[in-house]
């Protein structure tokens, strides 16, 4: 059983929902990320999504674009991100880590090399934003063989037929994008999300995490009532940006936001 699957089963047994923070690796420098990952686990994170910085983050709003720019400025490469996961695993063998990013850095490394590196670093899942199931036949078998989960997005515009196909290509969980837009966009509509999550449940047999537009404890709580997991990104990256000049303050600031969400979700 994969770490991600085990995580959702345990949460299910406990009657809790997954809190899934996203931060961009290497933002604002390469030393900050691993301590922040540990701090996020201590504050209640169940799964960590680690963004791989890319020069052209087309699906991201300004907050994560800037995070990518800071991380690239600090020289963060995909190799460095994998090394961060290796380091994280020295102290944490349980919390699943998902790499999230764009296809080109992976293409540059090579699918085979990347998949091997994921296994040896202890990466549990990979979400490539610009890799739809139609284009992934080279990728899926390589990850399957190695037990690395491939996570896919489902959008408000995704047809039922596509949800089925995505469900077949994916493992681990599905990431439902709560709104039409980029990361960090306006607020989501919980009723709409609830209806869509129901539809997805009937078409695919995977846990569903919901992301985009979760800003605070209230929205995290509302979404946790209808989905299996809550993904929060820009709200945390904002904390990193605000404290980029005093990196010691980053972990406490990020933890504070997460801890509030955790207790609201567990209420």
């Amino acid at each position: 059983m994969s770490r991600i699957q085990a995580c959702f089963e345990q949460l299910n047994t406990d009657g809790r929902k997954a809190l899934i923070p996203f931060i961009t690796a290497g933002d604002p420098n390469r030393d900050v990320t691993v301590p922040v990952m540990h701090a996020m686990v201590a504050a209640g994170a169940d799964i960590i999504e680690l963004g791989v910085p890319f020069s052209d983050p087309m699906a991201d709003g300004p907050v994560i674009q800037k995070a990518c720019e800071r991380a690239l400025e600090a020289g963060t490469s995909l190799h460095d991100v994998l090394a961060m996961v290796t380091e994280f695993r020295r102290q944490n063998e349980d919390t699943p880590v998902v790499l999230m990013g764009y296809l080109n850095p992976v293409e540059a490394m090579g699918y085979e090399t990347f998949a091997d590196a994921c296994v040896s670093a202890g990466v549990d899942g990979v979400l490539l934003v610009d890799l739809p199931p139609e284009e992934c036949e080279q990728v899926v078998p390589r990850f399957r063989q190695r037990g690395v989960d491939l996570i896919f997005l489902v959008a408000p515009t995704t047809t039922d037929e596509r949800i089925r196909r995505i469900g077949e290509a994916a493992s681990g969980y599905l990431y439902y994008v709560s709104l039409k837009g980029v990361t960090g966009a306006a607020s989501l509509n919980v009723e709409e999300v609830a209806a869509r999550v129901e539809t997805i449940r009937n078409l695919a047999q995977l846990p569903i995490g919901v992301g985009f537009g979760i800003k605070d404890a209230a929205s995290a709580q509302a979404v946790s009532r209808v989905a299996d997991g809550v993904v929060v990104g820009s709200a945390l990256v904002n904390q990193i940006a605000a404290n980029a000049g005093q990196t010691d303050a980053i972990a406490p600031a990020v933890s504070a936001v997460l801890a509030e969400m955790r207790s609201a979700m567990d209420e």
Binding site: S55, D56, A155, T158, I166, V177, G181
Partner: protein
């Protein structure tokens, strides 16, 4: 080349040209691209749609554009007879309008009230603002801050046409970043917005439909050459930014094996300096803006900044069909640097009284080298993709002249 492929059969059903092309976008856009593809495949064989397109090209754009024999320049170069396909004479001054007319017709059929576009040199932005004005559509044009500075005349033209020009301040602040921002807008407003992509890049079906709309250039040139020169040309030369004017000229000739083709990329300061915009000459395959193609990237897969005196060629990728035509060896991809392009710009202006766009000047710069290697009975067609008025301030800057 081992066996001649059936060029007309590409892209395949999923938008692939060999290993290139495809549809690499985030999930939210997949439905919109499916919808666009379905609509386009239906309309492309609809005689009424084709008749509307042809009517607009004739009466609004002013087609066919002439195939002009540049006699004095040919004589000076001493070799092939050089013909210019005069896309600079189109309404709005470049080939870009052929495509925006076509996409605006699609937008109307799909009931979209708002169009968006990315632009580098501003020619595609102007061509989009123009068709939007004519159809009464709301138009937003994304343009890198750096390009806004370089192409301020076109920025003002767009504003006069009623479009809103949105400065893009992310990344390198040029064409690639404008395209990122247009994609972000499209994801957000996908229900009521049509994205008019300005070149043969982007996710499937854009490379196919932009090529089809621009192919009017090559269809006309082929007919005109047979009539005016009495035979097919021996060589075609076109500049390659994203590659829309080049594919428009080349595509109708691909099966004519005797016709050699040269796509000219921007060498900027020189291909060996790293400061250029020549992915087919010095890049490698990767994925950007929804398709797999040759890209300028570093060893970690990050897209690197490009350099060219011409804003319209300042793009780190290239249309996927060109990547394929390069790999199968049908088209030769070469490069001309800033200095060569500027020299060609001045030369054509002085010798023929035609001021070319700096983009087109890259094609002219290569033609200048190629023509003397050819015989006097041979014919060379250069795609004069646009006129140079928009570049006067850039050239004046280089000459140290202030207004």
């Amino acid at each position: 080349m081992t066996e001649r492929p059936d060029y007309k059969a590409f892209p395949d059903q999923r938008g692939h040209f060999g290993q290139f092309g495809g549809r690499f976008v985030s999930e939210t856009l997949m439905a919109a691209l499916d919808e666009l593809e379905t609509m386009y495949r239906r309309l492309k064989d609809d005689p009424q749609f084709q008749a509307d397109f042809d009517y607009d090209l004739a009466h609004y754009v002013g087609r066919p554009s002439p195939l002009y024999l540049a006699e004095r320049w040919s004589e000076q170069l001493g070799g092939a007879r050089v013909w210019l396909k005069r896309e600079d004479l189109n309404h709005t001054g470049a080939h870009k309008v052929n495509n925006t007319i076509g996409q605006a017709l699609l937008a109307r059929h799909m009931g979209k009230k708002r169009v968006i576009a990315e632009t580098g040199a501003g020619q595609h932005g102007v061509a989009s603002a123009t068709v939007a004005a004519r159809l009464g559509l709301e138009c937003h044009v994304f343009m890198g801050e750096e390009d806004i500075r370089r192409q301020r005349l076109n920025v003002y033209r767009m504003k006069l046409l009623g479009a809103e020009v949105i400065p893009v301040t992310s990344g390198s602040r040029t064409l690639k970043d404008a395209m990122n921002e247009a994609m972000r807008d499209w994801v957000t407003n996908v229900d009521d917005t049509f994205y008019i992509i300005g070149t043969v890049a982007g996710p499937h079906p854009y490379p196919m439909l932009v090529r089809d709309f621009q192919s009017v250039i090559g269809r006309e040139a082929r007919e005109q050459s047979l009539k005016q020169a009495g035979k097919l040309p021996d060589a075609l030369v076109a500049c390659v930014g994203g590659g829309s004017n080049a594919i428009g000229l080349f595509h109708p000739f691909l099966e004519d094996e005797g016709v050699a083709m040269y796509g000219v990329e921007a060498a900027g300061d020189g291909v060996d300096t790293g400061r250029h915009a020549a992915p087919l000459n010095a890049g490698r395959p990767g994925v950007l803006h929804g398709n797999r193609t040759y890209l300028m990237e570093d060893e970690n897969g990050q897209i690197i900044e490009t350099h060219s005196v011409s804003a319209g060629l300042d793009y780190p990728g290239v249309g996927p069909e060109h990547s394929w035509l390069k790999d199968i060896g049908r088209v030769n991809y070469v490069a001309a640097d800033d200095q060569e392009a500027l020299a060609a710009f001045r030369e054509l202006t002085r010798v023929e009284g035609i001021m070319p766009a700096l983009e087109s000047a890259h094609a002219l710069a290569y033609a200048r080298k190629l023509a003397p290697t050819m015989g006097a009975d041979q014919n060379l067609i250069v795609n004069l993709s646009g006129r140079g008025d928009k570049d006067i301030l850039t050239v004046a800057d280089i000459d140290g002249i202030e207004f």
